[in-house]
Subunit: 521 residues, 2 copies
């Protein structure tokens, strides 16, 4: 079959499958029309087969040495690059995102794959711990099994088929059944094919990865309640994440759901810095609000100031500039509708429209809104995420009110404070409050743009993510898919290399309480 003919099918193990008869199409935001190609909805049998294959593959894949898993990840990255411009053009057609952004996203995606490959090649991530007393006990992280992963709409590459969730799950030694986001099925197909080729090319067991197409919540539910699935990873709306969480925790054998469910990412502008550089900050802030048509989980949906002249000037500046910010096409008609509904709801509940940018029909316009501190505290629902290029201003009358507003906020992916040294020293209590609210605290920066490294956290207290301790970006993401296994009294010939006396992998280990990477304990 030609590449073209293969699209529209599920990837079940290494085979493309066309059991279903119901179809759907993707939407081209820039053309505002449905793309001609049809994709088949996965059937219940296909889902079941994919999970069973993944469970069988796990029994082999969990024992594949890290260097081979790393080669698999690197090959996926190579294959994604080899897919060439077709991938970027397809993703652009299906998402409306510009090619340059998608090129950056592809770089991020392949960098993540290579990053996890190098993490597991180095090997210390398994947290090997050895206590040589009586009894002799040794511990390392092991993979948990089959992971059901859901693609996000807003990152057709980096949080999708070969995104951070898949990279970290495969790196950990887990197998994956992936539900593609129906907004970019063709993109998903191309990337899934890159993974399939890597599976075959590096000799990984069939079923280590499968891809399901679906527009139905039922597919996600079936995946989540399948007895052979051990954990779920999801990036999307609160409603979607919560439904999976409820299903997973009500199973006979509950499983963890690692759901990233969005955030309003409050930004606090303190008085001194607004006086010092309010104009620059206003410009930068509007950039952050409208970047990528505001379609980021870390988009700053709320900002807070305290009442003074500098704040008035700052808000007036935003009001003046918002009209000049670009409107844009959103990822799907559904997302646009939710955005416009969200803005209407805010206004109905008492938010005042301070300004907006003009946009063509079906474009999302940047909006600047405002509510009083009293209203914000009365109606916490005003502080829920409106996914898109809007931001809501809250003015605190007093410092006390500022802290109360911060304290009343729900869990967030990020919280940001802008301040001079004097501001920050004076408002130590604000930082103290915010550290209970977010996974990432930012000083004098903006929340959009999540670095991929060892120290980043892309997670936070409910309802930002569940559980609060998870992160879906950075190397810590791998621990969502592992647990510690303790080996007691194991003879040397049965120990995995990570735990052998000789430390053949030269990894860092906690040996009788001391960090060592010696070749011998």
């Amino acid at each position: 079959m030609h590449q073209q003919e293969l699209t529209g099918l599920q990837l079940i193990g290494n085979s493309f499958s066309a059991a279903g008869t119901q179809t759907f199409q993707a939407f081209a935001p820039l053309q505002q029309q449905w793309l001609p190609q049809t994709f088949r909805e996965a059937t219940a049998e296909e889902i079941d087969t994919a999970v069973k294959l993944a469970a069988r593959a796990f029994t082999t894949y969990k024992k594949v040495p890290a260097t081979q898993r790393a080669a698999f990840l690197n090959t996926i990255a190579d294959n994604i690059i080899a897919a060439g411009d077709v991938l970027l053009e397809t993703a652009s057609a299906e998402s409306g995102l510009p090619l340059a952004r998608l090129q950056g996203e592809r770089d991020r995606t392949t960098a993540q794959l290579r990053w996890f490959a190098s993490l597991i090649t180095e090997g210390s991530w398994v947290n090997a711990r050895i206590d040589t007393g009586m009894p002799d006990v040794r511990q390392m992280q092991i993979p948990v099994g089959v992971i059901g992963i859901f693609g996000a709409s807003n990152f057709p590459l980096a949080f999708s088929v070969a995104g951070g969730d898949v990279a970290s799950a495969l790196a950990a030694g887990c197998t994956v059944v992936f539900k593609a986001h129906p907004a970019h099925p063709h993109t998903s197909h191309i990337v899934a094919s890159a993974i399939r080729d890597a599976v075959i090319g590096t000799g990984m067991p069939e079923g280590v990865f499968s891809l399901l197409h679906s527009t139905s919540h039922e597919t996600g539910h079936q995946l989540t309640v399948h007895p052979l699935v051990s954990a779920i990873a999801f990036t999307g709306s609160f409603r979607g994440g919560k439904a999976l969480y409820d299903a997973a925790t009500r199973r006979e054998t509950p499983i963890p759901v690692y759901a990233e469910m969005g955030s309003v990412n409050p930004v606090f502008f303190l008085p001194g810095i607004l006086k010092e550089k309010g104009t620059t900050l206003a410009e930068q802030f509007l950039q952050s609000v409208t970047l990528g048509v505001g379609q980021f989980c870390t988009n700053p949906g709320i900002f807070v100031t305290t009442k003074d002249t500098a704040a008035d000037v700052f808000v007036a500046g935003l009001q003046q500039h918002i009209a000049g910010m670009p409107a844009g096409y959103m990822l799907t008609p559904g997302i646009l509708q939710a955005y416009n509904n969200g803005i209407a709801t805010l206004q109905r509940e008492g938010a005042q429209l301070l300004g907006a940018a003009p946009g063509a029909a079906q474009q999302a316009s940047p909006y600047l809104l405002q509510i009083s501190a009293e209203k914000a505290q009365e109606h916490p629902s005003l502080c829920h995420e409106v996914f898109g290029p809007s931001t809501l201003h809250i003015s605190a009358n007093t410092r006390d009110e500022l802290y109360k507003l911060a304290g009343a906020m729900e869990g967030q992916l990020t919280a940001t404070v802008h301040g001079t040294e004097e501001d920050l020293r004076e408002h130590a209590e604000l930082l103290d409050i915010l550290r209970e609210k977010a996974g990432r605290l930012i000083i004098n920066g903006f929340p959009t743009g999540v670095p991929v490294n060892h120290a980043v956290v892309h997670g936070g207290p409910w309802p930002a993510t569940t559980p609060a301790a998870g992160t879906s970006v950075g190397t810590m993401a791998i621990y969502r898919f592992t647990r510690g296994l303790c080996f007691q009294g194991f003879p040397a010939y049965l120990l995995p290399p990570e735990l052998q006396d000789e430390n053949p992998l030269n990894i860092w280990r906690l040996v009788n309480g001391k960090f060592l990477n010696d070749t011998n304990i």
Copy 2:
């Protein structure tokens, strides 16, 4: 007030509280009678006050330097020792456990407190990670808030008021509201007083620890659904843990429940080793089954052999010796009743009684039972925990059946295999299956006796614990009560010492991907 008069009351912050009017008494198993002293049931208001005090204390306690938290933990240990023989005698009266065992348990308890004190004094446990790129991001583990902790019946000291859960939560920087097990309220009171004196003596904020007495599930439920509680730790029955899990996951803001819900701890005896040393193993195994009247979460409730002469001889040996094993008084009348019901249910469902030890009235007798491999697979409920000194033999007809039995088992705290080198090499697949079933895999040992160190895991897949990745014993237990917080773009003067360039605490950190404990990055 004298110490004696204080018993029977709740400890709410640093004050003893007597709001309730309903009372209960503890049971003395050796005398088989209710102890005279009455204890008051905590009221809804007392629970609420305790949680609110804990939440307020958290805002201070989370910032207390580790060395001071360590001093607090060490002082608790000192005060427990200072409580002297009265503590041991009280615990013995309330639990029926011998003084020698309780002395050992007290040592374990104080050792755990000092162990966590030294862990946080050394400081590397916070997993500091620093990436100095643009943006500069740094991460460390921070405490999550107020922890509701439930005491276990079977360890009146080591898994109770100042047990591993409390030690790890306080070490992490969390505050604690503790629900004492009603089987040992006076013991709980003495230990709570030791903590209270340490709170006052080391200047910790009031509310860092409170103690509630209750016989009612409602108290545990109220604690679990309190909006200011951030996590729950529990050791006890599946039914109890599951009820808390359901309540916690159905909250408007769900919280994690770290529940250790018991286990049957299967032991597999392979053919070669039974031929080699079946007689010795039979003796050791019966010791493990009947130790402490079988009242351990790690008690081996099931053992599996494959059909051959050595296995017949082994089981015949057990059958012969079971009659000589000691019967004993269990912790409470309820636990005895559950044990006897469990034995009756096993027999009703088809288990055959191979032997039993005689016991006095109200004593729990050791039982040896047997079922066929077919029945074990048909009725998985036969493989549920019967808490007490019994064990159930399953004989597999073939190696295949042995693996099927292992594969059909639920999650366990431990799984054990006895084998010669030849046995173990031949049955590599069995170990492979069992590693998905347990938190601790044991070769040629017995599951009872859980070492306290860095490498141990006391946890395992559902229904042994939730989540599977948690451990309630060993230093990894601290991570149940923390999450990673990312500091982005923080100026030096706002960074916690753990993340400052100069590394003033000299801890191990992952700096730009390299493990370093240098004084400078």
